[in-house]
Every structure is written in C-alpha cells, then in structure tokens.
Subunit: 148 residues, 2 copies
C-alpha cells in the first residue's frame, strides 16, 4: 500500500517551496538538483501543481515558482486526493474492472472504504506547513548545505 512517486514528489515540491521567503522564487532545476529527482519528472509535477492553483509561476530569465497560498492553508489530504491517480484500495472499488462475484453480498468494500476515509481524514488534519519541523514557531530552513 503505497502512494505514487508522483504524489510523493508533489508534496516534496510544496514542502520545498514552503521554506522560501516571500517573493523568493525557485526553479525546477533547483528543486530537481536538491531532491535528486529527474527534472523531467518534476516538469509534469510542477505543471499540475500550477494547474491545481497551489503554485504561481513566473516565466523569463529570472522566472521561477512560489506557493500561491500560505503553506498553512494547503492541506496534505487535498493534495493527495488531487495527485494520487488511484484510490481504489481493492478491485471491487472499480465498477468497470470488478470481477469479484461476491460483491453483491460482501461488505469488504465498505470496510476498506471506511479505512480509506480514516486515512484521508487524518491527512486532512495536516497542512504543508506541518511537514517541516518547527523550531521556535518558524519552519527550519531547508538548506542544501545543511541537509546534504
């Protein structure tokens, strides 16, 4: 039971941007280098985060991206809902592909659905701002030198 790399990378981009100062922009190359993630992977991630409205991008020589909202207003749960392509815990969640013959008399789907709701409700109680360790009320600055 795993989240996709796509969801993982989306969260990492948002967490990275959350420690930037107001007005400070980051580039895809910078984040790719910092996280050691393929730039090509991040292009799609960043494009979609922009489409969802989580980040603002500025084109041009001095362009880059920043969070469109305060990190404390971006819920981890909502990001996961948007980025995770398949929340079908088991085959019976997918009406088109479900071949399970006991579905009409089986409660397993509702049991798993209940567990999935608990999972998402817990994520809903956290924001991107919670993802960085807080020191004295402010997020600890992510520093390539400090971490690497």
């Amino acid at each position: 039971m795993q989240l996709t790399h796509y969801t993982d990378y989306s969260l990492r981009v948002l967490i990275y941007l959350s420690q930037k100062q107001p007005g400070e922009l980051a580039t895809i190359s910078e984040i790719a280098e910092f996280h050691g993630i393929s730039r090509n992977h991040l292009v799609k991630v960043v494009h979609n985060l922009s489409t969802y409205g989580y980040i603002q991008t500025l084109r041009g020589k001095n362009g880059g991206m920043c969070l469109a909202w305060p990190a404390a207003e971006i819920g981890i749960g909502e990001v996961v809902r948007l980025t995770e392509p398949n929340m079908d815990i088991a085959e019976c969640f997918n009406k088109e592909n479900n071949s399970c013959v006991i579905s009409p008399v089986c409660n397993l789907k509702s049991i798993l659905s209940d567990a999935r709701s608990s999972f998402m409700q817990t994520l809903d109680s956290y924001t991107v701002a919670n993802a960085l360790n807080m020191q004295g009320g402010t997020a600890k600055k992510i520093s390539i030198k400090a971490v690497k």
Copy 2:
C-alpha cells in the same frame, strides 16, 4: 494507493470459507472456480493462510480446508498486516532505499504514518464475519447460483 491482489485474494478465501457449515470443507479448485481466480495464485494464498494459522487443511481424496477460527475472531486488520508485503506509504519509510534529502527536517513521514495508523485501526474494528452482509443475524450464504 491499493492493496495487492495477494491481500485481496487472502481476504476473499477467508470470506468464502466463513459461510461454510461447521465440518464442511472447501477445495482450492472450488474457490478458484467460484472467484474466477487462477488456481496457481490461490495455492500460495492458501498455503500462507494455513501457515498463519487462519485455516486448517485436510489432505486426501476428501480433503480440503476450513477456517481454524470463528470468522468473528479473525480481524481484517491483522490479515492485512500479514499479507500486505509493503506498508511503506512513501519512500521515506524505507531506511535502505530512502533518498529524500529533507528527511532529517521533515515531518511528512510521521504525518503519513499517522494516517496509516488510522487506516489500520479502522480495519482492526472489523472481522471476517463483518465482511458478509448479515440477514437476521446470520451471514447470507454465498451461493454460486445466487451470485453468478
């Protein structure tokens, strides 16, 4: 975010066996035919369910298998913990393969871990007996004719 087919099939075998009468045995071929699952897949599933102590098997011409415990005493959560090979929600859960450079200052792992605990706690509140719709206090008999 999905459970593996292996976990799904393990639960289906237990649910199938739960509607048998005391002393009534089922064969792998019978369950494979009923569920439309490859017999080869089920051999491994049944072998491991037997190893875990959930089912008893009887060899021989009239052999077969039955639940080793009442269905109401087999927790869905414990089955999922035993059968799901990977509960690492994201890369940072795996110490050996984790390449995320912000792990030392990042709370994402504890946030996802918290959500995973909520997921499992909910599953822990259900048993295999809960997986079949109850009618008048008894589980509705799974019938190939009725369902297919």
